[in-house]
Amino acid sequence: MITTILLMAAITFGSRYLFLHRALPFRVGAKMQRFLSFSAPAVLTAIWVPIVVLPGNQWQLSYQNPYLVAALVAIITAYKSHSIYATTLLSMAVFFALR
């Protein structure tokens, strides 16, 4: 068990450290940097969208899906308020009210 945990730790840390290693002989050029500037919105969205539209790994594009409705509330609140607290609190309230 400990071996498994250490191996996993090495893989996870390796994946996080690799490109911060100086001996890797390359520079991220301007074009590459522009490509990478989209990585945060792209990855974060790729994480939250499936949670919302595929709860339990099933497509649920319906107003009866509390994840979807509450996510729409979150999107509108985030757009209007730019506040992480307003967005999360309001949408969580809607989510639990609908469940």
């Binding site: 400990i2 969205t45 979150a74 985030a78």
Partner: protein, 239 residues
């Protein structure tokens, strides 16, 4: 200005950076509570000892990889399969390292090591300031945020370990919505032009489709699709 007032100013700035890091990460620390609890209690249900369950969060510090691995370990999956699965789930981190490389690479190893240790999805979400990681205050900000998330993750895991049996079945409560809404709150205000909007739409749609097709690398593939769309649409535009 005398040297000592310079130093005082610097210290003040670093204290501010530390506090801001703690405050900015706080909502995310709360949002992962259900996942941390789940990691702790699931490990115990599947025959981990207390030490093993906690060590996993202390050393691996990667929620989705941990949850999947606990199931695999419980099913006596071969070590190689666990390693490959962990690698696939962790592969998005390559993207994070690449994205912050030019900002961090000039820093000495004693800064780069802790930064990479806490380079989670959550910290990466706070890494986009053009000057991120490039001043002492900004490094302290990042490490403060990153390690506050580490501490929270481990406290939630411990809570799951010791109180897992007392808690209701977490898997059916829909608590995964907490992380979805926090990410929405981080992404939506960052959409400031059509290229980013298109990037987000492309990545979200392809993530749902690829995941529903059970493509192993759905997360990385959909992120790359979104980034490509954003890149193409932003070409020729002055940054």
């Amino acid at each position: 200005m005398s040297k000592s007032t310079h130093i005082k100013r610097g210290t003040k700035l670093q204290q501010k950076a530390f506090i801001k890091g703690q405050l900015d990460m706080m909502p995310l620390n709360l949002a992962v509570l259900p996942w941390g609890l789940l990691c702790g209690s699931l490990a115990m249900q599947n025959g981990f000892t207390l030490i093993e369950a906690q060590l996993m969060s202390l050393l691996v510090f990667a929620g989705s990889a941990q949850l999947v691995a606990i199931e695999l370990i419980a099913n006596d999956t071969p070590l190689l399969t666990i390693a490959i699965t962990t690698f696939i789930i962790s592969s998005r981190h390559f993207l994070y390292g690449l994205a912050i490389r030019q900002k961090v690479i000039a820093q000495p190893l004693r800064w780069r090591l802790p930064v990479s240790f806490v380079l989670t999805d959550e910290l990466f979400a706070f890494s986009h300031h053009p000057k991120a990681y490039q001043t002492k205050a900004r490094l302290i900000y990042a490490l403060s945020a990153g390690f506050s998330f580490y501490v929270a993750w481990n406290i939630w895991t411990l809570l799951g370990i010791v109180a897992g049996q007392l808690l209701p079945d977490l898997t059916n409560l829909g608590l995964d919505f907490a992380i979805a809404t926090t990410f929405i709150a981080l992404v939506i205000p960052a959409i400031k032009n059509w290229a980013t909007l298109a990037c987000v739409l492309a990545s979200g749609i392809s993530a749902a489709v690829l995941k529903s097709w059970q493509v192993e690398l759905w997360l990385v593939f959909s992120a790359l699709i979104g980034m490509s769309v954003g890149y193409v649409l932003s070409r020729g535009r002055v940054r």
